[in-house]
Symmetry: C2
Subunit: 635 residues, 2 copies
């Protein structure tokens, strides 16, 4: 049956079984969902939707017919009329594609009303489905811009969803004896440009599509020269998380003719958009090859179909994707693919932390079924053992306290997404406990990334959610944090005598404000620089870490000069967003069920091989550390 035929069958069934007064106007495939449009959508019961989903094995959504939706401007007025002023509504975001309206307010309880009475009243009046949420405490330009784009281009988005829907629901049966394989186009035996290409006789899925920012030329991008790669044959792209080595090339795919869906979590969508923009800005400034433009990023945003953790979604005729928390950064996911009807199951960890951090829950290790696991190996070698997190925090705060005490300033060059927020939580606690008393300045992209964190509290750890929701005590809002607003502001911080902490990008001093701070503050022995992340060979960060007395830097006029290094230099490895060797092995031990095959990727060659070999010895399963351009037959 064609997608049309299947849709007609569902339509007929819905027409026959739906309550007569629902006034159904249309039934459509939109992305992975079957959407029923009705003039009276509120009439459908949950049971009806559930049974329909079960019968056709598809995700079902019921939405108001666009004709009954009140004009947004008028609806907004109506909302302000009906909801009491005490609710302090700050924003109404209309999602034309779902017929939902997100009502941001400081007191969402007042939007809901007693037993939902206010909401019910509202619904009847405006017909949009109201979703009350707490106003994000820090406004994010990125989130707002993405929402605005999606609203402005809603006709485009709808058309994309319908087209994708037809592709997903085309009638293709995977035979029992069908083959399944994975080609590694990047990120195998290396870190950077991760790109996994899943193939069946009927479907092609790209899982992650990253870049290696430390490389030039072809080596910066995945192996699109692999003979099996054909961008026009890809059914779907899945992005596990927003770091550039996993998502950096995604907008570039659209430039090469891709026109299909991108599946990721909402935080990943927003964070990766922020990073991709930053990436092309920097690449342009540095005169590097820029593989896409801001137009491509926008095109990419329109093609994103966000999915929540734990929701199983058809992404190709015989492939169901489920994303699970990976514990690495906000919105990071393990991608689990269920192929065929009980035929085969693959989980790809992306990057994982199998330990609760301040920010996130530990990575999920239970899957309904699992035959092949593809696991990261960043710290996969035998001696890749990271210091204990608690101890690391204590020692870190000790350095902070001592430096502040001697009136010094502390530069913490940090990667903007993930590690910066984790450190903010450590610093906030230290400040509250009186371990130090000095402001923490946030420079570079950190503020904006933090804003995105506050927009998605449901993706944070239980502990964080409790603090934010129930105790009204959002650590990111602590008075200790100050945003650096411009270069003047930065100059003042540098010039003042006030001891302070400066959390700033880039993390390896390969550019950005961290270099500016270092140039101005390195000479003073009262100051300190604290490294909390990996410093690549050749970067300024690595040189400082190695104890160079003088560091060559470029002045604004393009002349080179040497900066004397008198500040104290510290390194803390225990803040990593990755599991270390012990934790990776622990993850494999706890994994349920134990897969038949374990493939190790995302690590230097020796680390991938070492982890694969250890896994073989421990679990007696087939293990391998594939190379880039290896295609591994899975079934």
């Amino acid at each position: 049956m064609s997608a049309e035929d299947i849709l007609n069958e569902i339509k007929n069934h819905v027409m026959k079984t739906a309550p007569g007064n629902a006034a159904i106007t249309d039934v459509q495939f939109e992305g992975p969902e079957v959407v029923i449009y009705a003039k009276n959508p509120e009439i459908f019961s949950n049971t009806f939707v559930r049974e329909l989903a079960k019968l056709f094995r598809k995700r079902i959504a019921i939405r108001p017919d666009p004709s009954v939706l009140m004009e947004p401007e008028i609806a907004k007025k109506k909302i302000l009329e009906i909801i009491p002023d005490d609710a302090e509504i700050t924003n109404c975001i209309f999602d034309a594609n779902t017929g939902e309206i997100i009502i941001e307010s400081k007191k969402p309880g007042l939007v809901i009303g007693k037993e939902g009475s206010t909401l019910e009243e509202l619904k009847k009046e405006i017909k949009w489905a109201p979703k009350p949420v707490r106003t994000p405490p820090i406004s994010s330009e990125t989130v707002n811009a993405i929402r605005a784009t999606l609203y402005r281009e809603r006709m485009d988005v709808k058309e994309i969803l319908r087209r994708v829907g037809k592709v997903i629901h085309r009638d293709v049966k995977l035979r029992e004896d069908s083959w399944i394989r994975m080609s590694f186009l990047g990120g195998a035996r290396e870190v950077g440009r991760t790109c996994n290409y899943l193939q069946t006789p009927e479907s092609r899925i790209l899982i992650d599509c990253g870049i290696n920012v430390a490389m030039d030329g072809d080596r910066a991008f995945p192996h699109f020269d692999a003979p099996e790669f054909a961008v026009e044959e890809i059914d779907a792209v899945v992005v596990t998380h927003a770091h550039l080595d996993h998502c950096g090339f995604v907008p570039g795919l659209f430039r090469y003719g891709y026109d299909g869906p991108i599946y990721c979590s909402k935080p990943t969508r927003d964070l990766m958009t922020l990073l991709q923009k930053d990436y092309i800005d920097i690449a342009e400034k540095e005169g590097k090859v820029v593989p896409y433009s801001s137009k491509d990023i926008k095109k990419c945003v329109k093609h994103i179909i966000p999915i929540d953790y734990g929701v199983t979604t058809d992404v190709a005729p015989a492939i169901k994707l489920t994303m699970h928390n990976a514990g690495h950064i906000l919105g990071s996911a393990i991608a689990h693919c269920h192929i065929g009807d009980g035929l085969y199951n693959i989980a790809y960890t992306g990057d994982i932390k199998f330990e609760a951090s301040r920010l996130l829950e530990p990575a999920v290790c239970n899957f309904p079924r699992l035959e092949t696991l593809i696991i990261e190996s960043t710290y996969g070698a035998y001696d890749d053992v990271l210091p204990d997190k608690g101890e690391t925090e204590q020692n870190f705060l000790k350095v902070i306290a001592e430096t502040i005490k001697r009136k010094g300033k502390i530069i913490i060059p940090v990667f903007g997404i993930g590690r910066a927020q984790e450190l903010m939580l450590v610093l906030e606690e230290g400040y509250n406990q009186g371990i130090f008393n000095a402001p923490v300045y946030l420079d570079g992209m950190i503020w904006e990334a933090t804003a995105i964190h506050t927009a998605y509290p449901e993706y944070l750890s239980k502990n964080m959610r409790n603090r934010i929701f129930h105790e009204g005590d959002n650590p990111f809002l602590s008075e200790v944090f100050k945003k650096v607003r411009n270069t003047n502001n930065r100059r003042n911080i540098i010039d003042s005598d006030e001891p302070c902490i400066i959390l700033t990008t880039s993390g390896m001093l390969s550019g950005g404000p961290s270099v500016e701070y270092f140039k101005s503050l390195a000479h003073d022995e009262r100051n300190a620089i604290v490294f909390v992340g990996y410093q690549s060979e050749g970067t300024m960060g690595r040189k400082i870490q190695r104890g160079w007395n003088e560091i060559p830097v470029m002045n604004r006029n393009g002349k080179s000069r040497a900066v004397k290094v008198n500040l104290s230099v510290h390194t803390f490895e225990g803040f990593s967003g990755h599991s270390d060797r012990r934790q990776l092995i622990k993850y494999l031990r706890k994994l349920k069920p134990m897969p038949d095959r374990i493939l190790t990727v995302h690590g230097e060659s020796s680390k991938c091989i070492d982890l694969a070999s250890a896994a073989y010895k421990l679990f007696k399963k087939e293990t391998r550390a594939p190379m880039n351009l290896d295609a591994v037959r899975l079934k």
Copy 2:
């Protein structure tokens, strides 16, 4: 530089340096060669050719300009005039593409004349380059038909060669850091449908393209559904030997749009054409899917570029192929690929016998360079030890002698190419030694296959060549062998009381005359059936081997009846054309140089894995038994 530019450069150089009276008329790429056409080709010295080849690193051929060649009919008359009748000329074969004329005669010495004087005279008269050879003792329809096709379609063949020449010599440099990989599209962890797909960023080569005659549907053919496979992107096809599991699909490639060269030895060309025709005949009769027609076989023949053992040939811009004797069947080869300029070397054994047989020399185990070896594993498991050949022959002849003594007939079902000829040599010796005294009838394709063997004595073992050339004692011509000419003839053999030996196809009694003989001779306990090759599960051969008392057979009218099995049943495993486990390991031990990586293919799963594991333990090199659809990155 384009192929045109390169050609122009060579042309200019040749024009400048060639002797003035050579009268060069053209310089062209033809297949892998640079061909210089001249009105006086005899003027060029060997040194000139050698230095030209060295300078441009290409194969050089000098040929007479077509305009100076005498008309074949007139030339033939001239030849008969000049050469004395005693030479007994039987055939003159004109090769319009090379300007050569093969003069078959019973006494080639008389064609050559004293110190070559007759040849010299001939050359001046007819301008064709005469190549005197001994008249093949048995005339082969296949060889004659192929030669006739190539002569008739010489314009087409020339055009194909020129097109291929341009593709081979297009200017492509393989970068030092280029990748090289091999996809296994068939014949990995199985026997049948062997198909290896070698890929670099610039080139694609198919090495073997077989079918599994025991399978139906998709499983009979290689995995052309592999995402990296694109028939229009293949630069060249290499065929290691003429068995259907290595060459059976080659003509089918032309049906799917392939239009490039096929590289193999001349015996492989002729034997595979014979087998391919037989295959489509049988498949048609059995109502199976026939993937190509006799037209495609003819097209294939025209695209074959025969190469001799040990001659290095450009088959793609950065790939040089050298074929080496594999010892398996007549013309069988190990394919050695030298990729890039000293970048990487791969040898694929095809099927090998690392032991002198009566027919052939043992497989070559020395290569100038070697990084990856791909080796067959038919008998790769630990306990796959075959009996000693000498002992096997003795026991075999004992069974023959005993059966003849009791006035019985012996059916030897045998595969037509290779094993049949090896057995003929054993029987001929036994007969000469007086071990038995009875005729050996040859039925099915055996006679024709033997004829092809006699057409290529230079591919036989030293011992055989000595007997044929120097002693004028060709064992295939022994009076003991009688050709079965038709069904009447066959009936008479069955009905007569005369004890005899019947060597007949098919080897597993899956059809052909062997079944007819069995049906008529099985009831008589004086008779015997002798199996000398592997009997697949489910075949009639296997049932008889297992000792069934009655075998169900189909009568001519389509009715089933049971044949009583009273004849004695014997099996001899020691005649295999494959190396057994001990010999495979010996091959690896003797291999020079030892490669970095050994991949095992062409065997049941357990045998490939067992051999890979043994090789790892012995040589501590990377070993693997890849699966079909695995793509292994080699460099």
